[in-house]
Symmetry: C2
Subunit: 346 residues, 2 copies
């Protein structure tokens, strides 16, 4: 694995620092005692001047521009694909390694797409940019990777996705809708801020995450397919995704069925997941123990439960997977990549 | 099809009249101008004495007891399995036809389990009791029935179920949790009132509807399997269910994948569903049109959209199915059965 130039501490930039994921990145760097020599917080000009606390000290947010990356060792990006396309090459040219949470570079052949528990070896060959996968993909591959060599052939996944995946403004919007009460059907900004059709999100579920593509699937659904294939290094893996937004603030859930090339015992799946990195097994139906978003929120783990044999097919196992979409699904996975790069391991 | 003794109007009883489904039954009888000569509203002794409005007139709720069924032609039951087991035989002995919304008789061989759009012929042979299927099953079979003869082999279904499926007290409990705000994690009564483990339902999803059985599935999940097989008359149908409660008040949703014995075209599926009884096709991704619970709430239809080919398997089609769980999922289906029995057709 390539290491950054070894240092006692690193100059770190966070682009998109005022967003929901950016703030979680700053908090995660602090909580992990990441060796930060200097923290530069960057955002759009309209957010510049805000202060964000890091280890008890206020840090003033600066406008993102080329010069802001001078001297930076590690840049964590979470300001959307356009900002990444603009600033990642500029940051890399000045010597930074960019860990990019946007979708801009994820499917580029020469950009590693990394979940440290799953494919840390992919970090060995990068050209300055490492992509952080989509939130719903990360928790899926963390739970699925320990089972791949049982002969994984097909993943059926229906998601229950928190609104914070659309940013802090979506969290605020859901709270505003909830405050108006269930009789109000006045929509705010769901499912997609920039599109004209808005539907109520409070007391509702919406089978649209991100925009639709020509094939009738949403971008979020195709990320589940394409990113899972790349990370698991299974280009022929069959994935059948349905992505649904639910009125949850933090924590994505996934109802998953995995089909293997041979019969699989539930006990074998449980044993593998019990010792899998990053996984917490919560699976005791007799005591009504299983994962749910309020359990996962604020943590970095991926929770797996409801593991059971398919009723008709001994090759298939069903399970329920939950993780905090802002942490393991974004900020914590990005910081984990940074830790792997500086050789602190995962 | 067996008809009740032909009359201009019928003496109708509603058992469980003060519950969420019972009230919806009374409203549905009124909205449909069901030919009611007398409406007798029955409930537990502690609810007796309440009044419920029917066609603008107050009706006093009486305590359920054997004598209360004297002279009744049609009895709509929605007071739980125990009440059904107690009172259904007593009502039938006195000449009533019982349409039972509980799970008590659904899987009895000599009790028809009926969704009028799907298997009205099953009404031809009953012994006084007709079972109304479980809410999540009804909307599934309404949407699936028009596709069965394409060679249906397997249903994968993940549900998003409204709290009103647990009764009015669950609606009140969710509103109470929501009012406390997302920082409170004080639980009320979810996922199962009578069990000791309660988790927050507000801003959460819980992968448990009803109690767990020994096979690791919940009762709700096994209803989806067993009731679908009985109604569709496909005893070997493979069903892979995950039932999840979501913070929605009214309207169940289902992310479904259907596998057939031969390749199936999406256009063929759309055409069949467009003319299927009880189905409303809402399927235009280019204009962001698809079903969601707030669209279905208060209506008797089953909404289907997000119809798309599986990405890897030409034998499989995915879709999203939504209906009001208290109406098509319970009260309206029961009144539909009554209408079919008196020969007004469906």
């Amino acid at each position: 694995m390539v290491s950054l130039q070894k240092k006692d501490a690193y100059r770190v930039a966070v682009l998109g620092a005022t967003g929901a994921v950016g703030r979680a990145m700053v908090e995660t760097l602090a909580r992990r005692n990441f060796p930060v020599a200097e923290l530069r917080l960057l955002a759009s000009p309209k957010s510049a001047g805000q202060t964000i606390s890091f280890r008890g000290e206020p840090v003033v947010v600066q406008a993102a521009e080329e010069a802001a990356f001078a001297g930076i060792d590690i840049a964590l990006f979470s300001a959307g694909a356009d900002a990444s396309l603009t600033f990642a090459p500029l940051a890399v040219r000045q010597g930074a390694v960019v860990i990019d949470n946007s979708s801009a570079y994820r499917m580029h052949e020469d950009v590693p797409l990394v979940v440290p528990e799953v494919n840390p070896h992919a970090l060995a060959h990068h050209r300055g940019i490492i992509a952080n996968p989509n939130c719903s993909t990360i928790q899926l591959v963390v739970a699925v990777k320990p089972l791949v060599d049982l002969g994984l052939e097909h993943i059926h996944v229906a998601t229950y996705q928190a609104v914070s995946g659309m940013g802090q403004k979506a969290v605020d919007a859901l709270m505003q809708e909830v405050a108006r009460g269930p009789a109000s059907s006045e929509p705010t900004l769901f499912p997609v801020v920039s599109q004209p059709e808005h539907y109520p999100m409070a007391f509702n579920v919406l089978p649209q995450c991100d925009v639709f593509l020509d094939n009738g699937y949403t971008k979020e659904e195709m990320k589940l397919v394409n990113e899972s294939r790349k990370i698991l290094e299974l280009p022929g893996l069959a994935v059948s995704p349905t992505a649904v937004r639910v009125p949850v603030l933090y924590g994505h859930s996934e109802a998953v069925a995995l089909r293997f090339s041979r019969p699989v015992r539930v006990e074998e799946v449980r044993e593998r997941l019990a010792r899998a990195p990053g996984v917490v097994l919560v699976d005791d139906p007799a005591r009504r123990r299983y994962p749910h978003p309020r359990m996962a929120a604020g943590t970095g783990e991926t929770y797996v439960g409801r593991i059971r044999q398919d009723l008709s097919d001994p090759h298939t196992v069903l399970m329920f997977i939950v993780a905090d979409n802002l942490l393991k699904g974004a900020a914590w996975n990005a910081v984990q990549i940074a830790e792997a790069l500086i050789g602190r391991g995962v």
